[in-house]
């Protein structure tokens, strides 16, 4: 069996992921269309929240991916710090714009959902606030990569920023449990049958989550390939300048 570290070779990574990317995009599209059509057209209104419950199919998967994208970046950053594999640092860089869009969708759909339910677009609630800070960390992370010319230095500094930001990624997930206050309800997904969202909403929600996960993986593969090629391009151009 091939070692996982073989994929730290940029060429091997590009060759392998190129085979999966079309399938991942295709599966993501099928899951998203199925889950969203099922949820939007064929599920009833909630007895308390009315038709706004349909926002759950976008809000919950995007919030989950916003947090998990950062955790994926954390793992990739740790691999960079420990083993100095460029592909892992570039994968973390590639995931950040995807994570920031997921966070933006979660914040936007949360505000749109919150307005009719809570009577306000925004509240300084623990979960909302930690999510906003996570969003700012994403922006800072992307800005730091862009600001530093040397790729290795940028990877080092962004990895440290990623470690610090992980506290807020975890806070975003567990803020509701830490502080039993604020407007945001508890987790929609739970192993406890009593707390978990009702089955009629749960099944299309699971399909939407699968769609978001597949889309995230497809985008990270595609964007990592782009970062690998962009890095090679910068190296070739620098060599050209030296020999000119």
């Amino acid at each position: 069996m091939a070692s996982l570290w073989e994929y730290a070779n940029p060429k091997k990574f590009i060759d392998t992921t190129s085979r999966f990317i079309p399938w991942l995009f295709g599966s993501a599209l099928i899951c998203l269309v199925t889950g969203l059509v099922w949820g939007f057209f064929f599920t009833p209104d909630d007895f308390r929240q009315g038709s706004t419950v349909k926002i759950i199919y976008l809000h919950v998967p995007s919030a989950l991916m916003a947090i998990n994208a950062w955790l994926m970046m954390l793992v990739a950053s740790l691999i960079w710090i420990v083993r100095r594999h460029h592909v892992s640092a570039l994968a973390a860089r590639a995931a950040a714009p995807v994570g920031v869009v997921m966070t933006l969708i979660a914040l936007a759909t949360g505000a749109i959902w919150g307005q009719p339910m809570w009577g306000t677009w925004w509240a300084w609630d623990p979960r909302l606030t930690s999510f906003l800070i996570l969003f700012l960390f994403y922006l800072g992370y992307i800005a730091l990569w862009e600001a530093i010319e040397n790729d290795d230095t940028a990877a080092d500094l962004t990895s440290i920023l990623c470690l610090v930001g992980s506290v807020f990624a975890l806070l975003s997930r567990y803020a509701v449990n830490f502080w039993n206050q604020g407007l945001h309800q508890g987790a929609s997904l739970s192993l406890d049958k009593e707390e978990n969202v009702h089955d009629v909403f749960y099944h299309p929600l699971l399909i939407c989550i699968a769609g978001f996960v597949l889309l995230f993986i497809a985008l990270v593969f595609l964007r990592t390939q782009t970062e690998i090629r962009a890095r090679r391009m910068r190296a070739l151009m620098a060599r050209e300048r030296l020999t000119a």
Partner: protein
């Protein structure tokens, strides 16, 4: 065809519109940049081979 969303129609429709727009934009931007960088790299590598 569209289910009766009652008084929350604006909220639900705008949440879907914003989310789908952002997702589609993300995919388009990612594909376009991937294609451009791949093309540019091939051009530079081709130039390097013809020079050397």
């Amino acid at each position: 065809m569209i289910p009766d969303l009652g008084k929350y129609a604006d909220a639900v429709m705008s949440a879907y519109a914003v989310s789908l727009l952002l997702l589609v934009l993300l995919v388009i931007v990612s594909w376009r940049r991937a294609a451009k960088v791949k093309r540019d790299l091939e051009e530079i590598e081709g130039k390097g081979q013809s020079d050397g």
